[in-house]
Amino acid sequence: MDAASQYLSLDEPHRANHLWRYSPWRKVHPTGKVGEIPTSLASPTLTLTSLSGGVVLAGISLEKSSGANQVLHHADAVTESFLKAITTDSAFTLRVENNFIPSEPIFLDIDTGDSPCAVHLTLDVGRHCEFELITQIDGAAPWTGLLRSGRIGEGTILNDVVIGHTDAGTFLRVDNISIGRDAQVKTGTVSSGSERTKADLRYRMGEIGGHLRVLGSILASDKMHLDHHVEIHHDAPETFSRLEWHSACGGKSRTVGTGMLRIVDGAHGADASQLFQNLLLSKGAKADSIPELEVSEHNVVGCGHGTASGPVDEDQMFYLESRGFDTDQARDTLVAAFLNSTLIAMGSETMHEWLTNHLQEELADLSS
């Protein structure tokens, strides 16, 4: 059965489903008519450069491909089949050869243009690479879909950051990525654009020794609704994962962070935890965080979760004000610090400097 037929055979997901509790599928779907598969979606423009804008290096390439037949593990059937169906002519593979070690971060720009669009990007990352990848989604499309799938090869060290930076509209992002044996992956999400984001990010620790950190720096302002669901599946022994998610909400925005940690029977020595923290910057802002655990293996190093929400800390405010920061400066500095504590963990100093500069433009919006 092809992806379109599979999608059409499925019922609309129920809101009792953990994934769809806060952002029903009909509000995420491009037309709202969930029985429909739009045929007129455009393909965004993908540009691969080094972070300083230089030409792409040998050892990494972006090529047209077909992702429709890929088998995704632990995927949500609705979004998988829908996104595959609408990206049959808009699928690319980012191929990274074994031992690829560039001297600066790689930058992949996905320009949505101003029409609804979608893309399926497969990450085919070889063994023993060591690099940083920033993927930025920008443009003015009213609807954008991004499916990232693939595998990070054995022993590779990858810092992977995705920036949702569209001007407005809805952004549907689905990650379905497998972490190879002894690979060390940090995957960061910086979300500061779009009116509505629905992200379903799933990572499979399917080989022994995989090491994963999932980090989020989420800025919501005005009436933005940013919903991120993160699943980490420990399917192999001696795997390690940490999820640290920081959301700052101003205006009448809402952020949602739901997490699922699954450790299967046999994944002995797994070590996993997830922590969601929310900073509420206005009375109208709202944040929900729901971490969940399913642990079927008794011999684990640790498995925990936590969540905390609150306004800017009054004692921290007083401390900064006693050091001459006026009230707005103190508040902005604390918000920036809160987001920076996950941002800085996403990658190298070069990457952090770039991300910090990127974030400065967004902080002003949070004051409203």
């Binding site: 800390d313 009054e314 004692d315 921290q316 007083f318 401390y319 900064l320 004000e321 006693s322 050091r323 001459g324 920061f325 006026d326 009230t327 400066q329 103190a330 500095t333 604390l334 920036a336 610090a337 809160f338 987001l339 920076n340 504590s341 800085i344």
Partner: protein, 265 residues
């Protein structure tokens, strides 16, 4: 001939929290170049006094005035007081994960002393020399503000800020607590270098006379139940070390009843 007003002049200060009085009429005057010590047991109102001078929003002043160089500061916000020249070295400074020390220091000095004071070779030289004086490694600048600092590191970091900001009035709230003797000497060196020989003044809040052996106070005041009950020269600190505080409690009052303010000290 005009006479310069004192750096700090507090008159009949009454203050408290949630209708509970903590300070019950404090009078205190500190002239330029002077270092005073405010001593007292836990719960006597020392930290409350420091917080009120700095403008902590939790406390309410019901009566009296606090003037800095002749100007009433009670209506000012904390940041306005900081820019006017008040500095509080906190007993328990706040951690701010995500905010790097170097960035914080530059912003703070720029806010208080102007943008020019926080950049260029002169600022870098001052910073380097102050850090050397306090035995702080360069790597400190890359850490997050007070995040994971030991007790001694927190206190040295407060003094580093004092040395860079060079305020008119430095209030040091139990800066000696939790420090070993070498730490006290280092911190005292920083306080002396920031205050002595300048137009600044300092109020050192402490339980013990240890730090006062290294930072010689001009005056010592004893705070009991929100009132200064005795003032004297440096010898008073030594007397308190020997005799404790009970002999200063007004007759008829319970020596163990300083519990209200204790929650804030």
């Amino acid at each position: 001939m005009s006479v310069d007003p004192p750096v700090l002049e507090i008159r009949d200060l009454h203050a408290g929290i949630d209708d509970t009085p903590i300070l019950n009429g404090i009078d205190l005057k500190i002239e330029s170049g002077e270092i005073h010590a405010l001593m007292g047991r836990n719960g006597s109102g020392k930290t409350t006094a420091a917080n009120i001078i700095m403008g902590h929003p939790e406390f309410e002043v019901s009566q009296g005035s606090v003037e800095l160089n002749g100007k009433d500061i009670l209506e000012m916000k904390p940041w306005e007081r900081a820019r006017a020249g008040v500095f509080l070295s906190f007993q328990y400074p706040q951690a701010v994960p995500g905010l790097q020390v170097g960035n914080f220091l530059r912003k703070s000095v720029a806010a208080i002393n102007g943008e020019d004071a926080a950049k260029g070779p002169e600022f870098r030289r001052t910073l380097k020399s102050a850090m050397a004086e306090l035995d702080m490694p360069r790597s400190f600048l890359g850490r997050y503000v007070n995040d994971g600092f030991s007790g001694g590191e927190k206190k040295r970091f407060e003094i580093l800020q004092l040395m860079l900001i060079k305020p008119k009035l430095a209030i040091l709230d139990e800066t000696d607590s939790g420090l070993d003797i070498d730490g006290i000497k280092t911190v005292a060196k920083g306080i002396n270098s920031a205050v002595r020989g300048s137009d600044s003044a300092a109020l050192i809040i402490t339980h013990y006379s240890r730090i006062l052996e290294h930072v010689k106070p001009d005056r010592v005041h004893v705070l009991i139940k929100g009132r200064i009950v005795k003032s004297g020269g440096p010898e008073l600190a030594l007397e308190l070390e020997e005799r404790g505080y009970d002999w200063l409690i007004p007759s008829g009052e319970d020596s163990e009843s300083e519990t209200v303010a204790a929650t804030k000290d």
